[in-house]
């Protein structure tokens, strides 16, 4: 194993030496590392003086951790440049072929490039943070507590891994450095938004949420590494010289996979759709499990938090809550506006949104949305119990009739999102990443059109025309 890891270091070491011989990489890194802490320190000094006039202690307290996060981030931006050109740059310079012809495994090449992308910028980042902390301590600015420092260390490291792993995926899939640089906006913009969110959390002082952010960023980085490795193909790196948008090929591939050679709708349902369904079956199993967990979580959360709120509420608060409930629209009055097409569109849109959210996050966001949807049922169940209402009759009358169709449709729709993410991080020999994505989209379209839409349509009709009547009967009794 050691000899195999040695080859990873060999790939990284050569490039590191190359970097240190290139003033165009060194100069910005040195400037960002050494000059930015001074600027930030001056900014902090001015801000402290300004805030002291208004006794804004909380902001002052959070200023140093915020500055550390920003200072740590700037040298990391260099990692993007290094990682973006890691494979495609070598391809453009013509140095990739001897390397690919050498007895190096894919993972050795990949991790070598990952290491070189992360190592120098991260080192620069730590040096920069250290320099800033030294200056801040000399000015007697309040230092963040140790747990926050640890958190910032992990956050900075996670940012570097996230950016480098995403940049290497782009580098492997691009045909030119120019294209890779343009595609980098798909990294820069989300990371900028992420950092704004993290800054808010930092000022808010919600350290638990910040830990979740660290974990989330690391999970996405690991998934990106997995995606990069799964779709790392020597053939792809060498075989494609130019990128052209071949809409005809895209459509043909999609249609070929969607239709699956079927001549009739019956054949399509029996063979093509059923084959796609068999593929997502393990994912369906997982979504059923996740549904159970979500139901319990929704139920438990309401039971714990709402019960406590109700128990601690004053008679005035309870009075206000009762008034608000009375202000809710009458079910009979809104019955006409909740038409079957409205419900159908609303529900199918929800499944589509789950898929789209999953598409951009390796299923993570999609499954979270699914959990919220299912969790709501558990929550409502608990709420009814807390209000002293028998939940089962309401549940049987208000959810079950259309839920028999709607909930499986939601589960199957979400299972495709889960399957999409899992398939994307799984190696698929002989296929480019584009082909894999098109095939997955075709699978999603098959399930969505063939299963989700019909089930949602039936559910919408029942929900619009049968459920309200049953619910009114139960509520009336």
């Amino acid at each position: 194993m050691f000899s195999k890891l040695k080859l990873v270091w060999l790939v990284a070491g050569r490039e590191l030496r190359d970097q240190f011989r290139d003033w165009r990489v060194l100069a910005p890194m040195l400037i960002l590392t050494l000059c930015f802490p001074f600027l930030m320190n001056e900014f902090a000094k001015q801000t402290v003086d300004f805030l002291n006039q208004y006794n804004a202690d909380l902001i002052l307290e959070r200023l140093v951790p915020f500055s550390i996060m920003i200072i740590g981030f700037f040298p990391i931006t260099v990692s993007l440049i290094v990682a973006l050109e890691s494979f495609v740059g070598e391809k453009e310079r013509g140095t990739i072929e001897p390397l690919l012809s050498a007895p190096l495994d894919d993972w050795q090449l990949y991790f070598g490039k990952l290491l070189v992308g992360v190592a120098t910028p991260l080192l620069a980042s730590y040096v920069s943070i250290g320099l800033y902390l030294f200056m801040a301590s000399r000015q007697r600015l309040e230092m963040p507590p140790a747990p926050v420092m640890v958190q910032l260390f992990f956050l900075t490291t996670a940012h570097a891994f996230l950016m480098v792993s995403a940049a290497i995926v782009i580098s492997v899939q691009s045909t030119s450095v120019k294209a890779a640089n343009l595609l980098a906006s798909f990294i820069v913009i989300p990371v900028a938004i992420l950092m704004q969110g993290e800054a808010v959390m930092l000022f808010w002082g919600n350290e638990q949420v910040l830990w979740l952010a660290v974990a989330g960023v690391m999970i996405i980085a690991l998934l990106l590494i997995r995606v990069g490795l799964a779709h790392f193909q020597r053939e792809y790196l060498l075989g494609r010289e130019i990128d052209v948008i071949n809409l005809r090929w895209l459509w043909r591939t999609f249609w070929f996979n969607f239709r699956g050679g079927a001549g009739s709708v019956g054949f399509w349902y029996r063979n093509v759709l059923s084959a796609a369904f068999r593929r997502i079956l393990p994912a369906v199993f997982f979504t059923v499990l996740i549904a159970g967990v979500s139901l319990w979580m929704g139920y438990d959360w309401i039971m714990v938090n709402t019960a406590e709120t109700i128990a601690l509420a004053s008679p005035e608060d309870l009075q206000k809550m009762e008034e608000r409930v009375r202000e809710l629209p009458d079910l009979e009055a809104i019955r006409d506006s909740i038409s079957a097409p409205f419900l159908f569109l609303n529900n199918t849109r929800a499944v589509a949104v789950i898929f789209l959210a999953g598409l951009v996050s390796f299923s993570v966001l999609g499954i979270l949305l699914y959990m919220v949807n299912i969790g709501l049922i558990g929550g409502i169940f608990a709420l009814l119990q807390l209000l002293g209402v028998q939940p089962w009759p309401i549940f049987l009358a208000g959810v079950v009739p259309h839920g028999i169709f709607e909930i499986p449709a939601l589960m199957i729709g979400s299972a495709v999102a889960l399957y999409f993410g899992a398939a994307l991080v799984t190696p698929q020999t002989g296929k480019s990443m584009g082909e894999v994505i098109i095939e997955l989209l075709a699978d999603w379209a098959k399930i969505f059109i063939g299963v989700v839409v019909p089930l949602m349509a039936i559910a919408a009709v029942i929900e619009a025309y049968i459920t309200p009547g049953l619910l009114l009967n139960v509520l009336g009794s």
Partner: protein, 311 residues
């Protein structure tokens, strides 16, 4: 050794290599000839396990290129079309780096790189950055890299294209030495004179297909027919009554020369000379008409294009 059967590669709708069958034994050199884009590089890339065949199979140094890609790459030395040199490295660093990639011991790396640099006349420039090298020096260094781990199989794309005659000669000598040392070698080249001098077998590729392969003599005989010989006389001579053997065809005749096509020269040529001698012909010279690989290549290409035009 290298062996392929129905080796094919398709990129979407484009068939880059179509049903190539090759067999190169240890101590043999095969030259792949063809226009740019004929499929030579794609074939070589399949043989180095860089591209996966769409159809067929290939075994290199006893390893299957699909199942044992890592072993294939460890057994092969490749000189690529683009030399793939790291310009900021020195030659000695570069060879040492690839020596490490191929898991050579430090002492083996030092010995090999010193010897190769010395042989290719790069020893003096060994500590200079590769970026400062001339085109020919870069090519020699790339070739040294391909030979660094002393591979059993060498795949060389245009090994002397950028070199001066002296360096090209050095490289040719080294390739011949490697052949004698039982290495299996494939050369892709447009330099037909070089191919004639080095190759044991030649394969001509056109649009991904091997149109013709064999030894140089076999190709000449297949494409240009039986060899032609010219007899020159010291003075005008009347050849009336000259009886040539059955398998010899008279092509042209002048008072001072005649030209014949001979199907089995080893058998027929002595008989021709006997016939001339019996008629007291004043023979000054009896020599084979020079027929080059270039003639073979151009004819094969012209025929292929002609067939395509008709279709």
């Amino acid at each position: 050794m290298i062996e392929t059967q129905d080796l094919s590669k398709q990129f979407h709708d484009f068939m880059a290599v179509d049903g190539v069958n090759l067999s190169v034994q240890s101590g043999q050199i095969l030259a792949l000839l063809g226009q740019n884009g004929a499929g030579k590089t794609t074939t070589v890339r399949m043989l180095t396990a860089l591209l996966q065949p769409s159809r067929g199979w290939a075994r290199v140094a006893g390893y299957d290129v699909v199942k044992n890609g890592h072993d294939v790459r460890a057994s092969v030395g490749v000189l690529t079309e683009q030399h793939g040199l790291y310009m900021r490295m020195t030659a000695i660093e570069y060879l040492d780096y690839f020596g490490q990639v191929y898991s050579l011991s430090p002492s083996a790396r030092k010995t090999r790189s010193d010897n190769l640099l010395e042989y290719f006349g790069l020893a003096e420039a060994a500590h200079r950055r590769i970026g400062e090298y001339s085109k020919g020096m870069r090519q020699k260094l790339a070739l040294a890299r391909a030979m660094m781990h002393d591979p059993g199989v060498l795949l060389l794309d245009e090994p002397t294209s950028a070199m001066d005659p002296e360096s090209a000669r050095l490289v040719r000598d080294e390739i011949s030495r490697l052949k004698s040392a039982s290495r299996t070698i494939i050369i892709c080249s447009h330099n037909l004179t070089e191919v004639e001098a080095l190759a044991d077998k030649i394969a001509i590729i056109y649009r991904g297909r091997v149109l013709l392969q064999g030894t140089l003599d076999e190709l000449k005989s297949q494409v240009l027919g039986a060899p032609e010989y010219e007899v020159k006389f010291t003075e005008a001579w009347n050849s009336t009554g000259l009886e040539l053997p059955k398998d010899v065809e008279m092509l042209s005749q002048t008072p001072t020369s005649l030209k014949v096509r001979v199907k089995r020269p080893e058998e027929m040529n002595p008989q021709i000379l006997n016939a001339l001698s019996s008629k007291s012909a004043p023979v000054m010279a009896f020599q084979e008409e020079a027929r080059t690989l270039e003639q073979v290549y151009l004819k094969v290409m012209a025929d292929a294009k002609g067939r395509e035009h008709v279709q």
